[in-house]
């Protein structure tokens, strides 16, 4: 029997989950679904992409955590395994941000990365 290790899945922090619910106007306890993916392009080659989507696709990886359903398409998952979606708020906060152990370089503004 194996349990999923952090390196083989995508996780969302409780703070980020709370902000997703706030962003969508959902109350605690409501079902919220978030698509997390990678897009080609962006100065380092790959860009993180977040969107609100309810429908899972047949080849999606589906992860439930802190009351949020995360949908990751198969190809994006290759680049995102082990990534944590976090939220840092406040005046100097970055907002939603990704900690990705696979990323070798990131661009100056932090939205683009390469592996």
């Amino acid at each position: 029997m194996t349990t999923a290790t952090p390196l083989s899945t995508v996780t969302i922090t409780e703070t980020a989950a709370k902000h997703v619910r706030e962003f969508t106007g959902h109350k605690e306890g409501d079902a919220v679904s978030l698509r997390v993916g990678v897009k080609g392009g962006g100065c380092s080659g790959l860009t993180y992409d977040l969107s609100l989507e309810a429908e899972a696709r047949p080849t999606d990886k589906v992860i439930e955590q802190h009351g949020v359903t995360i949908l990751v398409d198969k190809k994006s998952f290759v680049f995102l395994a082990g990534t944590t979606l976090d939220y840092s708020g406040g005046l100097n906060g970055k907002g939603f941000n990704f900690k990705n152990p696979n990323a070798k370089t990131t661009c100056g503004c932090g939205t683009s990365f390469s592996v």
Partner: protein
């Protein structure tokens, strides 16, 4: 060598063939001098079927290309297009892509040698985007109409004039439906005609009957070097950035993020571009490609293209040269791999009319 759709015609007209990315295309038809004259003073037709031709579809095609290349191509109204450099994250050149939003859909031309590489690159960076890349190179031929008389010749065949580079139209020529792209491969107005493989000969005959002289790679390459136009495998490669390769007109400064953008703009903003494309006149013909260039014993550049001017017999070439040495009239020494001097060379200014970006 694989044949192009015009191969049997080339055999019948006595063309000497040369391999371009594995395809046999005419090097010349027996008289490079008169072919060069047709290219520069009359009207010429050339078999450019080795150029990569792709049909792109899907609502995210331009959006993806815009995120992967240097020019602003997110919106291309029908009848327009753009050249744009596909770059690596380190800002090196994979290829110069030519996009045409024709009435018949979005077409992309690549260099002959980069067909597989471009497709693989686009596929690697495609995630959930709606884009399909279809290689139509083998099902079609591409005839290129060049020379100062080319526009009049096309008008004489009833083709709507294309006023601007990257324009396109889909007329019928010699009974065949043809996609006409204003591609300007030699900077002056020039037209690539894409036709189904089976009808290539009919369209070629229609063009030669209207006064276009067949020309091959040798004359075309000499005209390209004279015009200072970079070519894949010569000036363009993954060893150079777009500034060095003479691709500045295809870089958009304010369109936002694309792969390689940070490096490409940083080089410009911090004035770190150290080398540039330059033209050379050699003291004698026969200088080999990749010969080293020295100034006062120090390495200052590399020869990237070298050929003989078909009319004057002079050795002419292109190089990527340290900016400090690249002034018109500057003299450099040319040495071979063994370090032994081969010739000297003088830097000549690039022609004023350079390709214009969007």
């Amino acid at each position: 060598m694989q044949p192009t759709p015009l191969n049997s015609l080339h055999q019948r007209t006595g063309a000497a063939l040369v391999s371009l990315a594995g395809l046999g295309v005419p090097d010349h038809f027996g008289d490079v001098q008169s072919e060069y004259r047709a290219l520069t003073q009359g009207a010429a037709v050339m078999d450019r079927s080795a150029v990569g031709r792709f049909r792109l579809s899907g609502k995210d095609a331009l959006d993806l290309l815009n995120r992967l290349t240097t020019n602003k191509v997110d919106v291309l109204p029908e009848g327009t297009g753009a050249g744009t450099v596909l770059a690596t994250p380190k800002g090196r050149v994979i290829d110069l892509l030519h996009l045409f939003a024709t009435h018949d859909g979005l077409l992309m031309l690549t260099s002959p040698e980069t067909r597989a590489r471009v497709v693989e690159w686009l596929d690697t960076y495609t995630f959930a985007e709606d884009i399909t890349v279809e290689d139509v190179t083998e099902f079609t031929a591409m005839l290129c109409l060049l020379g100062p008389d080319a526009p009049a010749l096309l008008a004489g065949l009833g083709v709507t004039p294309l006023a601007v580079r990257y324009g396109s139209t889909v007329p019928t020529i010699g009974g065949v439906q043809v996609v006409v792209l204003r591609s300007d491969p030699l900077c002056a107005p020039g037209y690539d005609l894409i036709v189904p493989a089976a009808q290539a000969e009919a369209v070629w005959q229609a063009l030669t009957a209207s006064g276009a002289s067949p020309v091959g790679e040798a004359a075309f390459n000499a005209a390209r070097v004279e015009a200072g136009i970079p070519r894949f495998g010569c000036e363009m490669s993954e060893e150079v950035n777009p500034w060095e390769a003479g691709l500045a007109p295809y870089i958009h400064f304010s369109k936002g993020c694309y792969t390689g953008q940070e490096v490409i703009l940083r080089l410009y903003n911090y004035d770190r571009v150290q080398r540039q494309l330059a033209r050379l006149r050699f003291s004698q013909p026969g200088v080999p490609n990749s010969a080293k260039l020295l100034k006062d014993g120090k390495a200052v550049g590399l020869v990237t293209s070298s050929t003989t001017h078909p009319i004057t017999g002079e050795g002419i070439g292109l190089c990527i040269l340290r900016k400090a040495v690249a002034a018109e009239g500057a003299e450099v020494e040319v040495v071979g791999e063994d370090g032994i001097a081969i010739a000297s060379a003088v830097v000549v200014a690039l022609p004023a009319a350079q390709p214009v970006g969007v």
